[in-house]
């Protein structure tokens, strides 16, 4: 039997990779994908908690996270398209209209 801690460590590693990608990349699509990576890391730990603690609530939380991730992807990609129509770039450093 694989210990629960191993799943939590895998989840932590994937979450940190997502944080690294979000902080260091400036392409808005790849930043968005790092966000999805972090959500998936949380899903790993929730499913393993649900399996090891023999409770269904973790899996139900995963169900809602997937729903919210789908909604977030639709809205976020629509915002990206709207931004690209105005600026013709996917680099977030060049989107600075709202400063001061």
């Amino acid at each position: 039997m694989v210990p629960l801690n191993w799943y939590l460590m895998l989840s932590a590693v994937v979450f940190s990779i997502g944080v690294f990608g979000f902080l260091t990349r400036r392409n808005i699509i790849i930043m968005f994908m790092s966000l999805e990576l972090m959500l998936n890391a949380v899903n790993i730990s929730l499913v393993s908690f649900s399996h090891y603690l023999q409770d269904m609530r973790g899996v139900i939380l995963v169900f809602f996270i997937v729903t919210v991730a789908a909604a977030e992807a639709a809205i976020g990609l629509a915002i990206i398209i709207a931004l690209f129509r105005n600026k013709t770039t996917a680099n977030v450093d060049e989107m600075n209209e709202m400063k001061g």
Partner: protein, 170 residues
């Protein structure tokens, strides 16, 4: 022994594929590596006896969200992005922050104490099938959050149409 071997494969594959996702220069390559990572993740959910979650991982994440990503990448013309720097200039700072987060989570995991087990034992779930048990809990105890989720999806549909619609100048 065999479960640990399987877990080792999934851990190495998922970590390597997520690293590939955040380090590729071309967003299309990133999306493709992410597709592979989602399939590995789905098989790991099967390994954890969560077959319904594995199915929605493939259907919703790989089938819907990544196709949406791919459409947007193909819709935007990212030719000039391929010549720019891959990371920001201060990327070591991002690496330090991510490693510090990883270290703090690792140290807190070592002092983790699991709570009391619930009543859905593995034998019970296997006898009743996972999807049936999930449905029974979802439609009784979590009916109200389920309805709210449908409202969130409706709002996201309307929002996506409003945001992505081309404004016609009159």
């Amino acid at each position: 022994m065999l479960p640990k071997l399987f877990f080792g494969y999934f851990a190495v594959a998922i970590t390597a594929l997520s690293l590939l996702v955040v380090t590729r220069r071309n967003p299309v390559h990133s999306v493709m590596w992410m597709l592979l990572m989602f399939f590995n993740l789905a098989s790991m959910y099967l390994f954890l006896n969560a077959e319904f979650i594995a199915a929605i991982q493939v259907i919703v994440y790989a089938g819907a969200i990544l196709v949406l990503f791919l459409f947007v990448v193909l819709l935007l013309n990212l030719r000039e992005e391929l010549q720019t720097n891959r990371f920001i200039r201060a990327w070591p700072a991002g690496l330090v922050i991510a490693l510090a987060l990883l270290a703090s989570i690792f140290f807190s995991i070592s002092s983790f104490v699991p709570g009391i087990s619930g009543r859905y034992t593995n034998d019970y779930v296997q006898k009743e099938t996972f999807t049936k048990v999930l449905g029974q809990v979802l439609y009784t105890e979590y009916l109200f959050p389920f309805e709210i989720a449908s409202v969130i999806l409706l709002i996201s549909i309307i929002g996506a149409i409003v945001l992505a619609k081309k404004r016609t100048r009159s």
